[in-house]
């Protein structure tokens, strides 16, 4: 997959949240040199949800750097991850509003 990432980097807190959510699901720890690719990686976009959820839970929003890290770990173009993040935020906002909590 072609990944054109911006120079934004995740904070240590954001990185830890994403890795904690994905290490178990992917069965591997993150290594800058060995990002997954291929059919297997392209077949698990559904893991965007737990990854973005983890960031949102940890820091309350999804920064560009966090989005880049999620995109890189899951081999998903950041534009697609952003679209997923947008949908997720929308769902979480609605859920939060329904529960009478603060909006994201």
């Amino acid at each position: 997959m072609d990944l054109r990432l911006s120079s934004a980097t995740p904070s240590a807190h954001e990185r830890a949240a994403v890795d904690a959510a994905l290490d178990g699901l992917l069965g591997a720890q993150y290594d800058d040199h060995f990002v997954d690719a291929g059919h297997l990686a392209r077949g698990r976009r559904h893991l965007l949800l737990p990854a973005l959820h983890a960031v949102s839970d940890a820091v309350g929003w999804i920064s560009e750097g966090a989005l880049n890290h999620v995109a890189r770990r899951l081999c998903v173009p950041p534009a697609d991850a952003y679209r997923g993040g947008h949908v997720l935020c929308h769902v979480l906002n609605r859920a939060a509003a329904a529960a009478g909590r603060a909006r994201l």
Binding site: H33, H39, C75
Partner: protein, 567 residues
């Protein structure tokens, strides 16, 4: 391969293969048209492996990445071959009926166990085994390669190692199965087909082919020596003074090559060990450069002949990596005094007492067709237009061209033709050895929006363009006290350059890279090794041993600023 200097398969076959191995090829950037076919194949379920020291943008699409050490490809291929043999996955009927030399090949690969190959290549043994089984079990599988295979001091042996794998498994000569050399430039295939290879006549005939040579002698009205001329690396060796004793005993020096007519080539920047190459060019008695821009080589010339950019300012043909000849059409007039290459060459011939006139591009092509009877005779301009290009061999005007080469290997009886030979080859490490003084392996790489030494691509802007920089692993840099963007000095056994460094996660520890595209920023080939392959003449651009240090100075590049065309 097997007597034909061209790939076996049409690009479209990549869409229908089960398995693609891109070996020493970042086709995602350097062959974007071919890679569109790869993407279609991946979209319908094809699996892809990338064999490359760097985790390239091609590897980012791969199901498996074999990140081998530079120059260990033969050890890897031999281990894959051994694993195929030991797993009982050899296509026995194909090997028995079509090939020769299998037993020698088996004996050669036998010592290349998975463990030994893993030690040489640093690719995990299980990954080598996985690729061996995937390749041997696939119904249709291709091996595609680019300069990562052919820019080594033993380049031809690298190619033989890959061919051996195809012969073991029968992945050649069938639709979807093949050997695909993706050429280093857009018309390398065409240049070779037109006689730019010293041992070949136009049309791919050997100089030693008496029948073919006699036909060309008749057509051209001149004798042709059956002895091959010099290729580029031999020419540069011949430019060097050779000590010689005179009859009086006084030592002197002679040069076997003292005059050079250089057409569309910029060796002052593109030759390996460029400082040495420039010294040799400056020592020539006479240098003529014919090019579309004032290149660094033109800057040292006695005569510069301004040429048209034939791809848009004149007519002609181009032949791509699937052997497809296509028409090139004039879109604009050349500027100033620039003239088409053929017109300049013919005008020189006229001044030398010949009478070549000023033939049109189609007349030149038709002459070629009248002599290249097997490959090009059926490719009239009208047919090239009608069919959107034709793939050689195309021997007659009713021939449809040949998308799939060597299908004969699957015929029976006499139609099968001569046997396809295994060529046993051994791993030999790069000539420029890593030592404690030069511990980092530098490899040259290419990017999507630039071309060779930048003559043709330096003149326009690109949103992807970046400043040229040595790229290296962040951990390596940290150990040297270097931060991203710091100015560093890169030193090889031949020279040194300075530039700001860039970290690149595609590079593992111990590996660094440069592009050759921006010589005015970083004179990369001052570093590279001019050790060359005796079989192909190619220099070992891919494997240079270097040391990287923080730069002591903060002023401009130490490398002399070369004039760069188009900028």
């Amino acid at each position: 391969m097997f007597g034909a200097g061209g790939g076996t398969s049409a690009y479209v076959e990549a869409e229908h293969a089960d398995l693609l191995i891109l070996w020493g090829s970042n086709a995602r950037e350097t062959h974007p048209i071919f890679f569109h076919h790869v993407l279609r194949g991946l979209g319908t379920g094809a699996r892809m492996y990338s064999v490359d020291p760097r985790r390239t943008s091609t590897a980012q699409w791969a199901d498996g990445w074999l990140g081998l050490d530079v120059g260990t490809d033969i050890a890897l291929a031999n281990a894959i071959g051994r694993e195929i043999i030991h797993a009982g996955l050899v296509n026995e009927a194909f090997v028995r009926g079509v090939t020769s030399g299998f037993e020698d090949h088996r004996a050669t690969v036998e010592p290349y166990t998975l463990e030994r190959a893993s030690g040489i290549t640093r690719v995990p043994a299980e990954l080598i085994s996985e690729l061996a089984h995937a390749y041997a079990r696939a119904d249709r599988a291709q091996i595609c390669w680019t300069l990562g295979i052919t820019e080594h001091h033993n380049a031809a042996d690298h190619v033989f190692a890959l061919i051996n794998l195809a012969l073991l498994t029968g992945h050649v000569g069938r639709y979807g199965s093949g050997l695909v050399p993706l050429r280093g430039q857009n018309n390398v295939q065409g240049g070779g087909d037109m006689g730019a290879i010293p041992a070949k006549l136009p049309g791919g005939y050997d100089l030693g082919d008496d029948v073919a040579r006699a036909r060309f002698e008749t057509g051209w009205g001149a004798p042709i020596s059956p002895t091959p001329g010099m290729h580029l690396s031999q020419m540069f060796e011949a430019m060097a003074p050779t000590p010689k004793e005179t009859p009086t005993g006084t030592p002197t020096a002679t040069r076997r090559l003292r005059a050079l007519y250089c057409i569309g080539e910029n060796p002052a920047e593109s030759e390996a060990n460029a400082t040495h190459a420039r010294h040799l060019l400056e020592g020539l008695d006479h240098l003529v450069v014919q090019d579309i821009f004032r290149t660094a080589t033109a800057d040292t010339a006695d005569v510069v002949l301004p040429a048209a950019a034939d791809w848009c300012e004149y007519e002609g043909t181009v032949t791509n990596s699937e052997r497809r000849v296509q028409r090139v059409r004039k879109a604009i007039d050349p500027p100033g005094q620039a003239r088409p290459d053929t017109h300049i060459i013919c005008a020189i011939a006229d001044r030398l007492g010949q009478s070549w006139g000023e033939p049109t591009a189609e007349q030149v092509w038709d002459e070629l067709r009248s002599l290249s009877l097997d490959r090009h005779h059926g490719m009239s301009y009208a047919r090239l237009v009608e069919h959107g290009g034709l793939q050689w061999p195309c021997p007659s005007l009713d021939h449809p061209g040949t998308p799939l080469l060597h299908a004969r290997l699957w015929e029976t009886g006499a139609a099968r033709g001569p046997a396809a030979p295994f060529t046993p080859v051994e791993h030999v490490p790069p000539a420029d050895a890593l030592t404690s003084e030069y511990p980092i392996r530098l490899t040259t790489v290419r990017v999507l929006d630039a071309y060779n030494s930048g003559v043709q691509t330096g003149g326009y802007a690109s949103p992807m363009r970046r400043r040229e920089a040595p790229r290296m692993d962040a951990a390596d840099a940290a150990a040297l006290g270097i931060a991203d963007g710091d100015r560093v000095r890169v030193t090889s056994r031949r020279g040194s350059v300075e530039a700001p460094v860039a970290f690149d996660p595609a590079l593992r520890p111990g590996l660094a890279s440069f592009t050759p595209h921006f010589c005015e920023q970083v004179d990369v080939n001052v570093l590279t090794n001019d050790a060359w392959d005796p079989k192909s003449g190619t220099s070992e651009f891919k494997a240079t041993a270097v040391r990287i240090d923080p730069a002591a100075t903060t002023h401009g590049d130490l490398a002399s600023a070369q004039p760069v065309a188009g900028r």
